[in-house]
Every structure is written in C-alpha cells, then in structure tokens.
Symmetry: C2
Subunit: 207 residues, 2 copies
Amino acid sequence: MKRIADSTVRRLSAYLRFLEDFENRGLSTISSEELAKRGGTTSAQVRKDLSFFGSFGKRGLGYSVPELAGRLREILGLGKEWRVFIVGAGKIGAALAQYRGFRQRGFTILAAYDNSADKIGKKLDGVSVRDIEHLERDIQREKPDIVVLTVPGDQAQKVVDRVVKAGVRAILSFAPTQLHAPADVAVKTVNMAMELEGLSFALTNRD
Amino acid sequence: MKRIADSTVRRLSAYLRFLEDFENRGLSTISSEELAKRGGTTSAQVRKDLSFFGSFGKRGLGYSVPELAGRLREILGLGKEWRVFIVGAGKIGAALAQYRGFRQRGFTILAAYDNSADKIGKKLDGVSVRDIEHLERDIQREKPDIVVLTVPGDQAQKVVDRVVKAGVRAILSFAPTQLHAPADVAVKTVNMAMELEGLSFALTNRD
DNA sequence: CTTAACTTGTGAATGAATTCACAAGCCTTA
DNA sequence: TAAGGCTTGTGAATTCATTCACAAGTTAAG
C-alpha cells in the first residue's frame, strides 16, 4: 500500500470523532463539506484523505454516517483489542490509568510498572502497579501491543531499549526527550515542553 | 517576517533540549551534523531551520553551544515569564500542576479553576483551585498569557469562548475535540485519542 | 423523461517542506 | 603564506502535501 502521511491519519481520527457525534445525534448522511467545516479543513482534503482507502460516498448525496464510521474504525485498526502496559506510575501515569478514552477505543491497560517501593503493589485506578524488575518477563508472558512511557526523561531511552528488546513494537512516550528505536517500532511522543515553547514562540512572534 | 512552519518551531525546541544537555556536559561547540543525529534529522535541515533567523555558526567549526542555546531561547520567547491559568482540576490538571517543565521554562502557574465544590479552595501541588465562576474576572485582573485546558471534551469549546472573550490569546488544550477560535488566538491541542489511533493504525498497517 | 441541484472521486496544478550540492569561510599545520 | 580538512549558509532541485476544477453519478421535482 502507498505510504500514508501522518497528517492524514490524524485527520481520519478527527473525522471518526465527528462521525461518532453525528451517529449519536441520529444523522444518517454527511457531506465532505460538513465534515471539513467541523475539522477546520477543506472538503477536497476530506475526499482526498478518504480516497487513499477507497470510495465510500455516493455522488450527489454524501457519506453514510454509520458506514463511514465503520470503515474508519477498520482503517485505524480499532476493531480489535489492544493490550497496554504503562511504565511509570507517577502523576501522568495515574492520569492515564483513569483515562476513559483507552477503554472506549478497545485499549486494555493490563498493568503499570514502577521502581519505587511505595508504589509497587498499590493500585492506580484499578490498575495494579508492579515492580519494573519484572518488565521483560511480563512482556514475554502477556504480550502487550503498546507500552505507554511516563518515566522521567533521563530514564526513557533505557526503558525503550528494554521493551523493544523484549518484543514491543509500539510506544507512546510522554518523556520530553528524543527517543531512538528501530524502524519497525512505532514511536509517538507527546512532548509538553515542545507545545509550550510553540505557544511561547507564537506569542512572541505575532505578525 | 516570513511565516515559520510549525514543524520548524518544534525542531528548534528539540535542538534547544540537546544544547542544554551539551551545556551541562561542558561542551563548547557543536556541528549541525551532531545536532541532526541527536534529533533524527539531517544536517541540512538543521542549518535551514536556523537560517530563517540568522547565521549563528562559524564555517569550518560549527556552533557555539551557549550562544546558540541563547539565540534559540530568544527566538522561542523563553526569556520572559509567561503567566498560566489551568482550567480543569482533574487528574490531568493535577499532573500538570506538578510538572516541573513549566517552571524550568519560565511558565508560572497562577491558579487552577474548577466547577466542583469539593475541589474549590483546595490546593493542587501548591496551586490553589478557584471557582470557575470567577474565571473572567480573574483573567482581567491577573492577565494570564496562556490558558491550559483540562476540562472534559464537551465543555472545552465553551471555556475557549469564555477565555478568548476575556482576552486570552494562547491556549493549550488536552480535550479530545476540535476547537475553534479566532485566527489571532494560538491554540495547540494534545489529543491522546489521536495518538493512540495513530499507533493502532501503525500496528494494523505494517508493510 | 428531462432538468436542476448536489456531491463525489480524482488527475492536474499549485504550494510547502526537505534535501542536494557547492561556493565561501575558518582553523591547523608546516 | 599555502594547503588540506572541516563546516556553514543558501540557491536550486526534488519530494511531498494540499487545493483546484471538473466529469460523472445521484436524487428530486415537474
């Protein structure tokens, strides 16, 4: 398949959000124009994004809301259950453990890991915190699809190396550092420092 | 000034992170090649990014680490103090209140806001939680530069409208919804759902 | 059946971002 | 002073992403 740009995938994800909203409101069809207005883009962009995966609309009419939502879920791989380990049971880890968006999308949090004695054995919103010593062993046993990284920046790369070696192929990191991993491992980083500095830049360089 | 791409600003932010690391290790100069390797990009990209703002290097030698770090801080607007309100005192708000990256970059959290009676009056890691009723009044009094939004998705747009009307010109949102604001308001969104679905897509569409 | 009003899907055109490639400058050594 | 080894800064070339523009298909109304 042709390589799909990251920006395209992000928009597909946004379209799905709007469609779910439309589904709840009982609307049955929607045009690329309406979808575009909701997402702050153009109708041509919407149609082009979808065209990479097929023709889902009807000319003159638009898209069937439930059908397109289903197709997008399929494209994005949201049909199956994804198994998740959280590594780092600090404040961010805790916030993620209770984040309902995970379950809503079929992401099941199996466990959290930490190296601090006063966290190990406790629960993080129903998720038990285990000793990070057992990380590799548990990865081999429970085969998580995704590791969410919420450890301090200076430990992030070390954990990446460990989980990649143990067989994990997708990582979502909240550490403010550049991570290096083999090409076949999908790494996404949510970098707060970067976002803040982006705002600072925008505020500083106004027209 | 020529319009600077978002991706460029994000890279500048990353370069600054590496330079701070080099500063701590006492290194005095660095080449675009080394900076590129650290950031997973190319030396030409590094030089092009910097060239939008001036010529900071010495041919044959590279860049002075402290000088380039200083220039980048200046470009990114990190010299001054930025005043921040957090709106939404849930788990994510709490995680942000204790996030040290804010203070490190000169972002001062003035207060947090919530509408829940059992949170108002409490403290979130030293930050007092106020009644969201007083949001507009306090914005006018204390003139925050940035509002960080950690309210549930269905309330996010309403809060955006309120703070924009009260004069705020920069927003960092953690709500998984598309936000609409006037063009002169800088809005950044950290959308966890999008990142998760991006990973799901990557795992599903492996070559 | 015909016309009018819509809306999709997609090549072609445009615009934006990245990479190439090399002249110009700096440092060291002799 | 000259030569060799580096590295920057930047137009030009290339690659990638977005927007344009329109033929083709659909529906509704008369």
